[in-house]
Symmetry: C2
Subunit: 465 residues, 2 copies
């Protein structure tokens, strides 16, 4: 999709001066710094902001937003730049607020199984910090994203089938509003019936309703037993049917991931592994020793019925880490299959009863296409990803990826699914959002206009105002 | 709290005529019918609407709301009238939409573990319908409430510690907006990153942002093994400490309920039981046979360390049903302790690390008070309830209950908790909501004004416009 870039005006010198006065050398207008902050990891055209402010506190973010509000200048929050639908592109210029220096772990309440962190803390940083507590933060979108960014994009990933997404795991947020006021969306109680659910409103709002500066998340005890496994299947349908039966049986599997043969070939080469080049499921089981043994028995029996009997196990932390790192590198591995290519990643999510059909039809499309692609997914949720490896210099490849993407999203919507399970809308999927939500888009637009009347917060993303 | 009743004007005759033309004898203005629809199960003063419309479809609700919008007449949605903070009181008159006749189970997708029901379907009706599928809907607030009402109030109850609240278990809603337009908030995918989370915005909005007419909820497989138990403890602190350690150990207990000695005395008398009159925990364990056995072993060991060694077990469906019916009748049982009294129920929820302290301080307050009360709670979530049994004719008793309630809520807020874990705000806790949320109230108000600019949807509830 081509973004509509409108009203791009240079920054007011007075605004720049005020920001510089406040931030000193933590305000940058260097072309390199700005360029780096206008792009994510996708195929979307980069759009550099006019300046980048490296904030160190909620107060500082509030001051920056207040100043920008006074000049009706766009404000784009930036975490680690690992989003995939153009979320951080400064379509109308403006000031990017880089939150990486807000990386303090504010408080861990081990007894309450929660932690409060500044928005720039990454998930790996938090888990490293938690190492000696016996607790962990399970949401794992692959990239070592910032927790603020993960909240803003409603991230999920491999563990979501067991632990939920950021929707379920964010308890409370500190948010800077469009006029610079600061709110806290909730207290630390596990549940509340006190008023509108502002936490969930800001989770997934992609910086368009406010800038998230602190996040309180749920933590979990590290399970007594963890066991990972890889199993190849004769066909992708056989693998998907195993997933569906596992979920329908209520087995509390922690991870259940599908990689197609192209993706397995890619990770073998990229990570120097020797997995069978076949549709493959990656599993992880969490629980007590006996609970894990019970889950494994059931899943092995289900898999065997579908021709999946070649389980390779990983029990030690090192073996598991190696296995999941290969899974997480799938995107880079796919790109490496075609040197010089750029990735066009996309994802959809459908009810699990439609998953096999959705994947089969999508694979038929891909088989007839001229551009290479690979499929992987968090199939326990009904969520899967495609990556097209395109040459961005060739308009016909962009057009073909776009056509395949359109067809896949239309197929998912037809099957009562969503146009994105976890990547978000950014400016890449705005038309699909309209197709998905119909009249409900008007409610989203009313909320956006109520909370950001001058449209300064990450303008041009999610909905057209 | 005394509600501010303002601008109560009689219904426009033309509106009445239009409604009657559309609904025939499903529009009632009888004093008895109106009176019945203006009260819930609490101490709050009833406020009858001017008319009650018995709707049979989303289209009909949309037509009613459109007509009322044209005359700027209040619209109050009504399920079973079992709310506890004055939610259905027609503070400014207007039209009550009774949704009880919208009681069709629209669709059960057993393979996807979800069901779509009209708003008037009650939780027991749904579970009765599901009986032969091996699935169940776990949310259980005690009363046989309508699922639309449970969504509107973000209900939770005894199973929430394991299965979550309506927040986690509503997948999608059909909502009639303030101008009569109809939206669907989401599709049937398990997760989505597509736009603002409208589902969670309407869950808990208490009819102030729209009228919920259909709900898609998650279902779960009935566990292979279910075991319930009751265990008395020497002190309330011993019982609460057992709860805290159970939760902190990550044991996936399905229910863990606390009743104080007054409440146990009440249910013994009301339900003709012979439990020890002592602080008591009610448990339920769900899982595989071996999984339940493992949970039971761990919890028994934890309880024994706190002097709880008198477990009474209930394994058969009949025995479990009897046990939980007694728990659910706790409210009526408490009222029966003081014949002729009216109940003032209230609830708070705190981080579990503060639960013992919060309950202990609250019990000290109660011990020094002249009015009788009983305490029960879904303590696994940090949530507990008080019921004051008051003579509503005696202003000094109302004042005393109000004072104790104020102190309990202030204590919960001080402990980073919430003013209500599950009863909601209605018009009974509006001041507490302000105390809890501070500046965030302004965001709630902006949303309310954006979606209901004429303030016709359940006016006078949650926030002052």
């Amino acid at each position: 999709m081509i973004a509509t870039v409108k009203e791009r005006a240079p920054l007011e010198p007075a605004l720049l001066a005020s920001l510089r006065q406040r931030l000193g050398d933590r305000l940058s207008t260097s072309a390199a710094v700005c360029a780096q902050h206008g792009k994510d990891e996708s195929y979307h055209a980069p759009h550099a902001p006019d300046a980048v402010a490296f904030a160190r506190s909620t107060d500082e973010v509030a001051a920056i937003v207040s100043l920008c509000a006074a000049y009706k200048t766009p404000v784009i929050a930036f975490g680690t730049g690992t989003s995939l639908e153009g979320h951080v592109a400064a379509l109308r210029g403006g000031v990017c607020i880089d939150l990486a220096q807000m990386n303090a772990i504010v408080r861990v309440n081990a007894d309450d199984l929660d932690a409060t962190v500044e928005a720039g803390v990454t998930r790996k940083q938090l888990n490293e910090y938690l190492r000696d507590t016996g607790l962990f933060f399970p949401i794992d979108p692959g990239a070592d994203a910032s927790i603020g960014g993960m909240a803003a994009t409603r991230a999920s990933g491999t563990n979501a089938v067991r632990y939920g997404t950021m929707r379920e795991n964010v308890m409370s947020l500190t948010v800077v509003l469009a006029d610079g006021r600061v709110i806290r969306t909730a207290r630390r109680a596990r549940k509340s019936a006190a008023g509108y659910d502002l936490t969930r409103l800001f989770v997934g709002s992609e910086g368009t309703l406010g800038v998230i500066t602190e996040v309180t998340v749920r933590l979990y005890g590290i399970p007594e037993a963890i066991l990972a496994a890889v199993c190849a299947f004769p066909t992708i349908a056989a693998a998907v049917d195993t997933v569906i039966e596992t979920i329908q049986s209520g087995i509390p599997v922690a991870r259940i991931e599908l990689l197609d043969e192209a993706q397995m070939d890619a990770i073998n080469k990229y990570s120097k592994l020797d997995h069978r080049v076949a549709p493959t499921l990656f599993f992880e089981f969490h629980g007590s020793e006996s609970g894990v043994a019970e889950q494994v028995d059931t899943v092995k029996a289900l898999a065997a019925e579908h021709g999946g009997d070649d389980f390779r196990w990983a029990a030690s932390p090192e073996a598991r880490s190696k296995l999941w790192q290969a899974r997480h590198d799938a995107y880079y591995a796919a790109l490496a299959l075609r040197p010089g290519s750029k990735g066009w990643p996309t994802d959809v999510c459908v009810p699990i009863s439609r998953l096999a059909e959705c994947i089969a039809e999508t694979k038929r499309d891909l088989a007839q296409s001229s551009i290479p692609s690979a499929l992987a997914g968090h199939v326990g949720d009904g969520n899967f990803h495609l990556i097209f490896m395109i040459d961005p210099q060739l308009p016909e490849e962009i057009a073909e990826a776009s056509r395949l993407n359109d067809r896949m999203v239309a197929r998912a919507l037809e099957m009562e699914g969503t146009c994105t399970g976890e990547h978000g809308i950014g400016y890449g999927k705005m038309d699909f959002l309209v197709a998905e939500h119909g009249e409900a888009i008007s409610v989203m637009r009313s909320i956006k206009q109520a909370l950001d009347p001058d449209d300064i917060l990450n303008p041009g993303k999610i909905i057209r105002v």
